[in-house]
Symmetry: C2
Subunit: 187 residues, 2 copies
């Protein structure tokens, strides 16, 4: 059975085509940004957000190393997405928690995360998907996990389906996936 990160990518690969626009809501070390960049190809575009300069720089280096030129990196919170993006998007990914090898006290916050999801949902194409990789073992992680589950479970099933994909017999609070698919236009 696919592990969490490969499955997150599978979920996006199934619905994102070359030439489309996608969002990396939490660039971090840039691994997902690179994946998205290659997924949409040179005719597509990635908007990559992070609130930490260290993450933006790491991602920039990672992309340059792989000669990717279709990414706009934005040093700002993902809840500001509508200030930067107005086009229809095919997908988005979040890695929630802290920056690996960074300052573990700087973490994603439920309010901002949900604001970002709410904004992205309105930009999402029909059959587009928003994938959340929910790390929750750190201080503050349990609260964010619960807030996201509460938010996702109340999404109207007429317009969205939300999948939870989780390995349930592992120690140390491993991450799990929440995947939101728009199944019908909301307006």
């Amino acid at each position: 059975m696919q592990k969490i990160i490969p499955y997150a990518h599978t979920i996006l690969r199934e619905v994102v085509d070359k030439g489309e626009i996608v969002i990396d809501a939490t660039c971090g070390n840039g691994h997902d940004t690179l994946f998205l960049s290659q997924l949409v190809g040179h005719t597509g575009k990635v908007f990559g957000f992070d609130i930490q300069e260290q993450a933006i720089n790491q991602t920039k280096n990672h992309l340059q190393h792989h000669q990717c030129h279709n990414v706009q990196l934005i040093l700002d919170g993902h809840e500001q997405v509508k200030h930067y993006v107005s086009e229809e998007i095919a997908g988005a990914i979040f890695n929630l928690g802290y920056l690996p090898k960074g300052d573990h006290s700087i973490i994603t916050k439920p309010k901002a995360t949900i604001q970002a999801i709410q904004a992205l949902i309105t930009l999402l194409k029909k059959k587009g998907r928003i994938v959340l990789v929910v790390y929750h073992g750190h201080t503050g992680g349990a609260e964010e996990k619960q807030a996201l589950l509460d938010y996702c479970t109340q999404l109207d099933q007429q317009y969205f389906q939300v999948l939870q994909y989780q390995f349930i017999n592992q120690v140390n609070n491993p991450p799990f996936i929440l995947a939101i698919e728009k199944i019908k236009e909301t307006n």
Copy 2:
């Protein structure tokens, strides 16, 4: 994203080969039995269990209609599996709850279900999978769901991985999947 029944079949299709032995622990209307029969082909074998004669008869008719001759139907509880099967198995499937269009008061019970899983786990090949489709909206369903989650979460992650695959924003307690994969031999 694949719905519950198609995903249950995908999980088995990925690890079951032609010529292998598999178990339908709850024949019901015979749909999964037919799927398994076609999956292992005429060189393989399916053992199909159900405690209701109505289910065994329905399944027998369904298989005959599709000219499947590799299934042994057993009118007995799946917790008795070791009385009938001693060979290595590649996979098993359970549809928990009551027989659709049958007597809704006859339901699978947590104790027997877990006994069956414990027996099947010892017969399972490495990388083999046991898939539980957990219906839990009926009387007694919540208890069985909780007992299965408790059982599955304590399976040693050195030997098994257990995936929960669930749509979380749907009304009326839709079924979800628990999939147990043996990743290492236990003896």
